[in-house]
Amino acid sequence: MAGSLDQRLENLRAGFDTVRPNARTIAALRDNPGCASRRVLDAAGIDKAKLAERLGHEGQEGQSRFALQRGDRFEKDVKANAFAVAIDLLRRDGFDLDAVRLLLLRDLYPIDGTGDQDVMLAKRAEETRTAILDMARAKPDSYNLVDGGALEWDFGGAIARLETDGIAWRFKDQIRVVEIKSFPLVDGRADAGKVGATAWQGAVYIAAIQDLLEANGMSTDLVSTELILMLPRNTALVPTMLKVDVLRHVRTLRRLLAGQDSIDELVAKLPAGLDLDLDGLDEEQAKDRIAAVLKAIGTSYAPSCLESCALARYCRARAREAHDPRHLGVEVRGALAGVPTTERAARLAEGSARPRTEEKDTAKLLAGVHRVLVQEGLV
């Protein structure tokens, strides 16, 4: 297919609803880096939730307002009065900001429904880039704290716009990324799953800053791979700080993305003319079209998709119909390695099919169970 990648992605999108990829979307890639559809759809900014709806398998995405309130509430608390609490926390931890120079991009270029969103984002991105480069060059009057820093990151052929909670810096030190979350640190420990997810998110921001520095001929060591997390402590909303080493996460992210086909190559798999133009199609035809696109690009379902991709239920239903072992989980899939369907597995167990070379081990196991069950009269 001719044309730039952007052009081809736009052709694929054909006017379908869009959604902006963010750090969470990218971090979710490491969940299932092998799924070509997810990568392409995210790169094209296509709204997967809407696709799922059209396919008749909508999920229950949606965040509770109550959860957002607490998140908002805590974040406001930490940022109130010119980041007073955040600065205090940082100082007490030895990150001594002497003169606090604040750049509040969210307040300076607000996105609130009035005015042009893209203009505001572009300005934020420009200011962020300047601020970071100033920090990297150790300009003595650089900003120390940037709120709502906007980064752009190329994740394999498509650009995502990311918004950070905070970027902090002090003279002669590394640039630090700060995330403010509302899950609590209880007795020194926080929910491992939530910390993990935040670590991946932070890793994306750090990778983006590394790339920015590198593109400007500066060392990536200028940004720290230790993420600063600000969380409520124990049962009240009293803020505290937690540092998370995400070097491994950054490395893994890069490795995952490097090891995959580029989005270019994935989109090339689409036959000419196959796109998401659903105008004029009835419900069934629309479903078929979307299904065809997904099939052409290729999917790779695993139960973990249920937590991170709106199309999970659709892919799950298809896997179930086909008796594809992947929907049963990673363990089962591994144990049935070499055996393509559960139907075949059952025949191997009963002995009514002769195992191929790659099926021999699994067949022996299953046949063994079958034999014992029969022997003991348990089946």
């Binding site: 949606g62 007795d187 179930r320 089962v332 559960t342 299953l366 169970v369």
Partner: protein
């Protein structure tokens, strides 16, 4: 992956129905457990928003904190729950006890009963743990008046939450975990964490008991487990309500409640004005969760109890007795384990894990299948028994009797020579070493050298036997409580008073939220 589980999962996927992975029940079930269906508000993980609680499935008690972010209101519900739990524990602790003696002659007692908690899944256990933590430390900063029974109830919750981690314990039962132990479905463990979704695989008709409309008119009789589970997933079964409800009716109701109460937090006002929220929480979450708990209970109760379950419940009762006596005697729980306690706990849990594995294996043929197929247990026919075999000393004189048993079995075995195995009929008495192992085609011939129980009963030629690593030998000692008393908090240790700087209530924020 366990071979039986793999086989049964394949079966479940093809039949669309859950398959048994155990023949008997490996947990104790009380006749009237305390069932707790509880939800929190997404933004307030340390309080009950609503709960249905009770030991009688026909009459649960509803406890609601319509605005759980306000500490006074939150403690109304937590106090109520704490009182109910405390009363139950007191009743058991004040009830009849067994009198026992340790090896050194000292005496101790054990409660004859212990309350059992029944919740939907591990998330619910975590919520109870968080509640316990808050209730346990509340009032220490001096800012809020908190009655002592709330602190005690917090300690109880902390105890139960910890026991959820102890292998083989039945003090607190997360229904999803208990079901997973005994049945295999055609979906992943993650999906099985949703109680209704897992039950759908057992029988889609069960869903009608949980929520009338959830199948949307589909006929359950011919429905596959997967299709039924997809419907069931729409019901809240954890500790969170549906975000759509949060952002719609519940949000509006909470805002209205706050506007109407105008800052008041007394029980009468809260109860009167909060009725609507209570009804909503029941309708949107709690009723279905409550029903699901009892459906799960019935499924588990339908299995006969394994023989070793009673011993493990005895161990549970001992733990309970120790805890109840300590807390009622004024002891306080620390929130973070000392290194020593952590080490002791791990050792105890390892023992408990072994006891559980052995008990399950010995009680349940299905549990044995995996071991047999993996070649760690021998199952076959006895072809020869020779009692007149002996160990010889240097001069060739017979010293100890060492009978030989020869077993013919299907399959091969990954057992190194010299492995010690036990006869499943007499697992703590008759033990043998693997002396010889010959494989011919698909069959194996194993020679076992009996080294324990040499003069006792032995299998006879023609018998079907099983020899496995599982034994009761180690368990011949009576259960001994660890030396140290429970967690010990010294009088001058600072408590977490910092918590008590409760943030300003969100009344103002809520009052100004626009509902779009």
């Amino acid at each position: 992956m366990d071979a039986l589980d793999l086989y049964m999962t394949v079966q479940a996927d093809l039949t669309g129905r859950a398959q048994p992975r155990r023949e008997v029940r490996h947990l104790h079930l009380e006749a009237a457990p305390l069932a707790v269906a509880v939800v929190q508000m997404a933004s307030e993980p340390f309080a009950i928003w609503g709960a249905l609680v009770g030991t009688d499935r026909t009459s649960p008690t509803l406890m609601v904190a319509p605005e759980p972010r306000n500490a006074d209101i939150a403690f109304l519900a937590m106090g109520e729950f704490g009182k109910l739990l405390g009363d139950l524990i007191d009743r058991a602790a004040d009830g009849p006890r067994e009198h026992l003696q340790r090896r050194d002659g000292s005496e101790y007692t054990r409660c004859k009963t212990a309350p059992q908690l029944l919740v939907t899944n591990r998330a619910a256990v975590s919520l109870l743990e968080r509640l316990g933590r808050r209730m346990r430390t509340a009032g220490y900063g001096g800012r809020i008046e908190v009655p002592e029974h709330v602190n005690r109830a917090g300690a109880h919750l902390g105890f139960y939450a910890e026991m959820a981690l102890r292998p083989g314990s039945s003090l607190i039962v997360p229904a999803t975990e208990a079901l997973k132990r005994h049945w295999v479905t055609g979906q992943s463990a993650f999906e099985n964490d949703h109680l209704a979704s897992q039950l759908a695989w057992h029988d889609p008709e069960l869903l009608e008991q949980i929520d009338h409309g959830v199948l949307g008119g589909m006929d359950p009789v011919n429905l596959s487990g997967g299709a039924a589970a997809e419907r069931a997933e729409t019901l809240p079964m954890g500790v969170l309500t549906d975000p759509d409800d949060d952002n719609g009716d519940l949000l509006a109701a909470v805002m209205q409640f706050n506007a109407k109460r105008d800052g008041r937090t007394d029980r009468r006002t809260v109860r009167r004005l909060g009725r609507g929220i209570g009804d909503l929480l029941r309708e949107r979450a709690l009723d279905a969760m409550w029903a699901a708990l009892w459906v799960a209970y019935d499924r588990l109760a339908s299995l006969p109890e394994g023989e070793h379950v009673e011993d493990r419940w005895t161990s549970d009762r001992s733990q309970f007795t120790k805890h109840a006596d300590y807390v009622r005697g004024g002891g306080r729980m620390r929130s973070v384990d000392s290194a020593r306690r952590a080490a002791m706990l791990l050792a105890d849990w390892e023992d408990a894990q072994q006891e559980l594995e052995h008990g399950e294996f010995l009680d349940d043929r299905l549990a044995q299948v995996g071991e047999i197929v993996a070649g760690r247990a021998i199952c076959g026919t006895v072809t020869k028994v020779d009692r007149e075999q002996f160990d010889l000393d240097k001069r060739g004189k017979p010293t100890k009797r060492r009978p030989r048993i020869v077993v013919q079995a299907d399959g091969d075995f990954g057992l190194p020579l010299g492995t010690k195995l036990w006869w499943s009929e007499r697992p703590s008495q008759t033990g043998a070493l693997v002396e010889d192992l010959t494989v011919r085609g698909k069959r194996s011939r194993i020679t076992l050298k009996v080294v324990a129980g040499v003069t006792g009963p032995l299998p006879e030629v023609g018998d079907q036997v099983m020899f496995s690593p599982y034994t009761r030998e180690w368990h011949s000692q009576p259960y001994l409580p660890p030396d140290l008393p429970w967690t010990h908090v010294s009088a001058d240790e600072p408590t977490d008073a910092g918590d008590l700087e409760e943030a300003k209530s969100l009344d103002e924020v809520l009052a100004s939220e626009a509902v779009t």
